[in-house]
Amino acid sequence: MFHKRLYQFVFIYILGIGFLFLIKKVLNLSDYVIPSPVEIYETGRKVFLRYIPDVLNTLSVAIIGHVLSIFMATIIGIISRLSNWIGSFIKTAAFNIQAYPIVAVAPIIFILLGDGLSSRLLIAAMICYFPLLLSFIGILSEPVVDIEHFYVHSGKMRWQLEVKIRAFENMNKLVTVISGSATLAMVGTIVSEFIGASSGIGYSIRIALYQSDLAKILIALFLIGIFTSLYLAFLEWLGRIVVRKWEHNS
């Protein structure tokens, strides 16, 4: 699974680079705009090792933000099942807030919290939180009538059991949603680093951008792709283990 993800990414990356060279050739652009393969290789030799800690820094923030979002979405998703005003309020609020591009409020976060870890973490968490929350609300609010009927009418239903039934019945969906939102967490972290942070691969890309050094940016993108692919593959692997374990029990 891990190597499949990596192969897929490398294939797409090579296609992307090829497309860049095609544009360079067709439009007759200079090496200053799009560097030659040799220059990219030389830049790679210089910055590859230096960029790895930056990517790991970004990835670790994204992972923490992602885990926080999953945790929060689970709690809010559970509360939103309620059929009273709290549940309705949470659902309405979630649907409205997710319609707003959260990244636009990033500058406010930097003004309030500074350019440190907390700002990056908050933005990463916020960007992947709402899509997660909407899916969790959908899954946890939808009754599994054929299973719940007995518990409801025999008076044995408890909220923990209700959540367990709905989560179990939608385990594949939950795993897919969690894996999908990991990319959003990474996007959120990198965007926050572009805007105002003082560390991480997004910050390194920003510096490279100021230097108009496309080679450095391409190396950074390569590393981001590799590590994001590894994280996604890890989540998918974890998800398969959980689904298999639950299916085995059943």
Binding site: H149, H153, S154, S250
Partner: protein, 228 residues
């Protein structure tokens, strides 16, 4: 025990009512049936009696006590074996009945399996078993023995009659022969355009499998077919 008086009911967004001044009653314990053509409202009436639907006019008098409604599409959660599930949902005072029911329903071999690994007939029997282990007074069995072979179905019905002589059952089935043979009273539900919308036919109420005369059985079957 249960009496439905002048029930009128229409699903939201539909043109025609399901029930138009429907009245029927079950006034003694035993094994009764609700019979009718597909779409005539058997499950709807069952759910009204069980208190799972509202928005109707008329009156349902329940002097029987706790009503349960089981149907054939129900599932058990997948995270534990059916045996563990049954043990968990059975009230303490009924635990001594688990083995008897499981054995007489022919389920001993699948007690350690997960619900999704069972055949449709086994699933329905397990589902019915867990309802029978609850503290109920009136149990509605909405095609609860669907996909179960005839011999096992007969054995299960006799066992239920033997174990619960004081309880009331409302058995919903599409088999005229089955309801004629095993049930005390058969409430035949008809289209809302017919008046009265339901008629009750006296069944053979067989408890042993040998005592019903073929002639009487055929008479009951004919009567049901004629009124439906």
């Amino acid at each position: 025990m249960i009496e439905c008086k002048n029930i009128n009911y229409k699903y939201h967004g539909t043109q025609y009512p399901v029930f138009n001044d429907l009245s029927c009653k079950i006034d003694e314990p035993g094994f009764h049936a609700l019979f009718g053509l597909s779409g005539v409202g058997k499950s709807t009436l069952a759910r009204l009696i069980a208190g799972q639907l509202d928005g109707f006019t008329g009156k349902i008098d329940n002097k029987t006590g706790k009503i349960f409604y089981s149907y054939n599409l129900e599932r058990l959660p997948g995270w534990s074996s059916v045996g563990e599930h049954i043990a968990k949902v059975t009230p303490v005072q009924n635990k001594n009945r688990i083995n008897e029911i499981i054995e007489s329903f022919g389920l001993s071999s699948c007690i350690d399996s997960g619900f999704s690994h069972l055949s449709l007939g086994q699933r329905n029997r397990i589902n019915l078993a867990r309802y029978l282990l609850q503290d109920f007074d009136f149990l509605i069995m909405d095609e609860s023995l669907a996909n179960v072979d005839e011999a096992t179905r007969e054995q299960i019905i006799f066992k239920i009659k033997d174990m619960y002589p004081q309880k009331t059952f409302l058995y919903i089935s599409h088999s005229v022969a089955e309801v004629s043979m095993f049930c005390k009273n058969i409430i035949v539900l008809r289209s809302f355009q017919k008046s009265p919308q339901s008629l009750t036919v006296l069944g053979q109420d067989d408890t042993t499998g040998k005592s019903v005369e073929r002639k009487n059985l055929e008479k009951t079957m004919l009567e049901i077919v004629n009124v439906s």
